[in-house]
């Protein structure tokens, strides 16, 4: 075991892991994060805490993580390279680890253009792959990126994202291989609606034996309505929502669409349980966290293992 991370223990035990996420509030409102995390208690192994997602200012990921940690739950510190340089990121990692946070997710982050501060400078001192490498060297070599020794190096279980649906598709397995080479321990994928394409990507992953080197958690986001399906299809970059899914959502009356969205998500989970190399699920119910417990239960993923 590389770390004390509960997520690492669950994955190492060979059982399907379940993670979900909490978006911190747009204000100094700790109750909000506590309320959201409480909904997930007992239903997931770890909770991603987003870092200024969609480039909108929110309470910081690490401070929200501390609240979740104090509840006895397991936060995953998300960190984007958009907002901080390597000094700031390393100091935040030291601080987070000092508070017992031992799992993180390394991302480049949405471009500032998409948020509420489009006039801000994007930092991008590092990219996500270089961030993975930096965190790994901090952990395994006990070295800062600049080369100096760290007193009590932070032992982070290191995650990253993968989007099998972005272009060029032929590079998507290769880019995962680069993250593996950089030292990533687990992957959470983009939301999966095009299951055929995801399975094709997994085939490529297995062909190269990458599934033996990294844990892969399949990204699941239930759709609330046909409107959301259309929005995801047309407006969200890198999202692949097949026409059949939109059609299926629109084939049921409005008041039943939420349930249809959940059903689609559960069917996807069921199908992916049988795919070699899928080690768990990352359920992102965007502003719909209250549905996660029901989904985990209906997906047959309860009880969560005690490790």
């Amino acid at each position: 075991m590389k770390t004390e991370s509960v997520l690492e223990k669950v994955l190492a035990s060979g059982q399907m892991a379940v993670t979900s996420e909490c978006g911190p509030p747009r204000g100094s409102v700790p109750d909000k994060i506590i309320e959201k995390a409480n909904l997930l208690k007992g239903y997931v192994d770890a909770i991603n805490v987003t870092d200024n997602q969609t480039a909108m200012v929110r309470m910081s990921s690490w401070s929200s993580c501390i609240f979740i940690k104090q509840m006895g739950l397991n936060p995953i510190l998300q960190m984007v390279t958009r907002d901080r340089n390597r000094l700031a990121m390393q100091s935040d990692i030291l601080g987070a680890y000092a508070h017992g946070i031992n799992t993180m997710l390394c991302l480049s982050g949405d471009h500032p253009k998409f948020g509420d501060h489009p006039m801000a400078a994007g930092v991008y001192d590092l990219d996500s792959i270089q961030l993975v490498r930096m965190v790994k060297d901090m952990r395994d070599e006990g070295k800062f990126q600049g080369g100096a020794d760290i007193v009590n190096p932070p032992k982070m279980f290191i995650g990253a994202a993968a989007n099998p649906f972005a272009d060029p598709f032929e590079l998507r397995v290769a880019r995962l291989a680069k993250k593996v080479k950089a030292g990533v321990d687990f992957i959470q994928t983009q939301c999966i609606y095009n299951v055929d394409k995801f399975e094709k990507w997994m085939e490529g992953v297995r062909e190269r034996g990458l599934h033996k080197q990294v844990y892969i958690l399949a990204g699941i986001t239930p759709m609330k309505s046909v409107g959301m399906a259309k929005y995801m299809k047309n407006k969200v970059p890198g999202m692949d929502v097949p026409d059949e899914v939109v059609k299926r959502m629109s084939s049921v009356p409005k008041e039943k669409q939420a349930e249809e969205g959940i059903k689609i998500a559960l069917e996807t989970i069921e199908r992916l349980k049988g795919v070699e190399g899928v080690n768990g699920f990352h359920i992102m119910a965007i502003e719909w966290e209250e549905k996660v417990p029901e989904m985990v239960e209906r997906a047959g993923l309860l009880p969560r293992p005690q490790v």
């Binding site: 958009r82 390597r86 480049s108 471009h111 253009k113 994007g122 991008y124 001192d125 590092l126 990219d127 996500s128 792959i129 270089q130 490498r133 930096m134 990126q145 994202a161 993968a162 989007n163 649906f165 972005a166 272009d167 060029p168 590079l171 290769a174 880019r175 291989a177 680069k178 080479k181 950089a182 983009q190 970059p237 890198g238």
Partner: protein, 222 residues
């Protein structure tokens, strides 16, 4: 070349409003090529400014001079005989040229007439796009001749990100994804394997990371 775009006339009118006699400077280098501040643009701007002021009944005396290179002290010196009469200078050169004039003539107000944009190339008539970020440590030899720092919106050294779609960048549907271009070119060169070599964290010191830069060529500077 260094590209530039002329500032709006209204802004320039406000810059020179306090003065009766100005020197309007062009540059025969990059800003001529990108049609922002060459001799032709100097003439056009002079007419526009005169017209704008004549509406208010004011006569603006403009002396037009286009230097061979405004970023070069040797050429900037040519302005010395004309400086006495001028109350202010409006320069259509890039930021380098504006600063060279300001450095040489300490007591003259100098205003930029263009916004200096980027180091770029001409795509076709009337279209220029950014190509180089001046990072001081060129990686084009390993990225297939396409710069990820200047041309990827997130300057990813190990792209493409999850927002690359149909060869375009998520930031703007009209913008090419630099990493798609890099990949296409590596494939054309039969160098696909190179993609999987991780590019390490960049040392930004050769760029702006160590403050303003200077090149000293001992053999020439003696």
């Amino acid at each position: 070349m260094i590209t530039a775009e002329r500032k709006p006339l209204s802004e320039l009118v406000e810059c020179v409003r306090p003065y009766g006699r100005i020197l309007l400077l062009g540059c025969n280098e990059c800003v001529t090529v990108c049609a922002a501040g060459g001799r032709k643009e100097v003439g056009l701007l002079a007419s526009s400014l005169k017209m704008a002021f004549s509406k208010d009944g004011k006569n603006l005396d403009i002396k037009e001079i286009t230097l061979e290179r405004q970023c070069d002290p040797e050429y900037v010196e040519e302005l010395a005989p004309h400086m006495g009469e001028a109350e202010a200078v409006l320069s259509m050169a890039c930021g380098c040229g504006v600063q060279e004039v300001a450095r040489r003539f300490m007591d003259k107000p100098v205003f930029p007439a263009v916004n200096t944009k980027f180091m770029g190339a001409s795509e076709r008539q009337g279209i220029w796009s950014e190509r180089c970020a001046g990072c001081g440590d060129c990686v084009l030899g390993i990225t297939g001749g396409i710069c990820p720092i200047a041309r990827c919106s997130k300057q990813l050294m190990n792209g493409p990100c999850g927002g690359s779609s149909g060869g375009k960048c998520e930031v703007d549907a009209e913008m090419d994804c630099a990493w798609q271009l890099i990949w296409d070119r590596l494939k054309a060169l039969g160098l696909e394997k190179r993609y999987e070599e991780n590019m390490p964290a960049k040392d930004w010191r050769p760029g702006r990371g160590a403050g303003p830069r200077k090149i000293i060529r001992e053999d020439l500077a003696r």
